[in-house]
Amino acid sequence: MIEIVALVLLLSMGIILIRALLGPSLFDRILAVNVFSTKTALLIAVYAWIIDRPDILDIAIVYALINFIAVIAFLKLIVRGDLAASSPEHQR
């Protein structure tokens, strides 16, 4: 039964990958990359259950955190044009 969940996750990863490749605007791609990373974390969690290795769940948590950092960095680069801009006077 849980195998079906893994298969559906793989299928949705494939669909999201198509969106990331075709995505007309930059934000489509960012959203696709974000969702793809989330699906990867879910797939690892499901896979850890399938092969009965709960210690792998830690890696899924790391993925969720890393995904967040990368998306924030992308958005900051697009909005501010610089990763180092942190103080409010750079904002307009």
Partner: protein
Amino acid sequence: MIELIVNSALLLFLLIVAIAVVRLRQLLVSVMMFGLYSLLTASIFVVMLAADVAFTEAAVGAGIATVLMLAALARLPAEKEEARSRGQFWPLVLVTATGVLLIYGTIDMPGFGNADTAAHRGVAAQYIENAPVETGIPNMVTSILASYRGLDTLGEVLVIFTAGLGVLLVLGGIHPAIGSRLNSQEGQSSDTQEQSG
């Protein structure tokens, strides 16, 4: 069965993303795809049960490397440059020859998961037997890296520290950020703001 399907699907995604990194003409999108590539590589490490390597790949490859590439991208000049090489025949020959040589090199390697390889017949059994008692560290990989091969790890730390210093010197130089390629006017005006402020 399910492991075979997961393996095949992840490798297929990896292939698609790798081709996309090369073919897409927008640098920012290429960096995104490169982050996905690292994530997929780390997932394959997980499927191969190399949890420690997957941790490192996820943190360094998908996390720090992506952010560093974005920081480098922010420093690029705003004008676009068409880097389209004319002669692609000889590079293709060179890459194909290198690939064939590398595949030829893997023929001599022992099979995946083979217990009779040289690496497993040497000190590995001794590590497994003595490591928890001698070092008192429950995780075996950590006990080998931090205790038995401590000097080796110290050298690695030195290398990574030097690399970090180099990155800081390149990215955190005296020049203010040139700005984004996407909205170059905003980048320029914030530039002058930085210099005056």
